[in-house]
Symmetry: C2
Subunit: 202 residues, 2 copies
DNA sequence: GTCTATAGAAAGATAGAC
DNA sequence: GTCTATCTTTCTATAGAC
């Protein structure tokens, strides 16, 4: 048996358990989710859960990996347009990913558990945010090669600033469950403007 | 009796309870902190806690308010220097506040509980982040008045972008408990450079 | 205000039948 | 693999003495 238990072939009960665990972990958090409630929601017995997953921790980790794959699937756009147009499309796609209820809930619970389970936080970061970030940095680098953006700063740094400005207000408030102060479209527009002013073709 | 229980005069036992609650809530989270463990750590009986606080929720809220006052005391700098120098000092002070272990832990647990306790998240935001943000926006506005920064964009928007870029990588990784990818000083330097390139005097 | 003692419910995990 | 039943511990909150 080479594969670990948590990567076993999908079965109906196993998927039902993961679905239930996802709903509860993302809704009420790790500690407040009981294995009993997962069993009830999944329509199985608690013993069946332990037949598929060694512990509550491993169930949580399996749920997180499955959701990361689904929540951070960033689709890079064509980058044949000018900088402003390309960055705007990236911003729209990224922000709609980030402020989706599922992605927010996953981020909340991973942040909450990062002190208790550091390797989990690391796995999350490398399975989720880093992938989107590297995809965006590659596009920024190509914009620099084409002269659409000045190459006076590292593409990764510009990408970090890009994502940081996008997450500044809209995302921060959404993460705390507060109503938006500004429309997301406005945040996107001002972010792109600022980047183009700083790094756009002169 | 006008004042609510959670604002009663400080007593030795009450402070000990709050100290213990803070240590545990910030360390292991809300759900994983038991009233028993708070009592033991504070050196009091559990009944004494309930004599001072109506419930676990109210104990948490009292702890949060006390820590917000301590963790978000942003001291605005002189703003008689040029934009780059002023922004650098602000960035240094803000980032050292934000990535302090206490502020990170408080943010983690408030984010984690924001779905369960929305009014708590709101109180946190208004007692903590908003205060620092408005203090910074006021300085940005004065820099604009003095012509150190162009007034082509709202001071609040520039402030959001400023804070967003600062929190982008250093803070994001710190929040997840991951080692820093770059020194904070570098993030500060590139952030200030970008803002000055976009909004600095021509 | 502060304590001891405890009620009553619920937690994570397992034994053993099938 | 899946179930019922249960072990053992721990949880929030309270009763009642002082």
């Amino acid at each position: 048996m080479l594969k670990p238990k948590t990567r076993a072939k999908p079965s109906a009960k196993r998927e039902a358990i993961l679905d239930a665990a996802q709903g509860l972990f993302l809704d009420v958090g790790y500690a407040a989710t009981s294995m009993d409630s997962v069993a009830t929601l999944a329509g199985v017995s608690k013993a069946t859960i332990y037949a598929h997953f060694d512990s509550k921790d491993q169930l949580f980790a399996a749920m997180m990996h499955r959701r990361c794959d689904a929540s951070f699937a960033f689709v890079p756009p064509d980058d044949t347009s000018d900088a402003a147009r390309t960055l705007t499309i990236i911003a729209e796609r990224l922000l709609s990913l980030l402020i989706s209820p599922e992605a927010l809930a996953l981020y909340r619970v991973v942040v909450a558990e990062s002190a208790r389970a550091p390797e989990l936080a690391k796995a999350f970061y490398e399975t989720g945010p880093i992938r989107a970030k590297e995809a965006i940095a590659a596009i920024v680098a190509r914009l620099q090669l084409r002269g659409e953006l000045l190459a006076i700063q590292d593409a990764m740094v510009i990408t970090d600033q890009f994502i940081g400005m996008l997450r500044a207000e809209t995302y921060h408030r959404a993460l705390l469950g507060l109503p938006a102060a500004r429309p997301a479209a406005q945040t996107i527009a001002t972010t792109v403007e600022t980047l183009v002013r700083a790094y756009g073709r002169r």
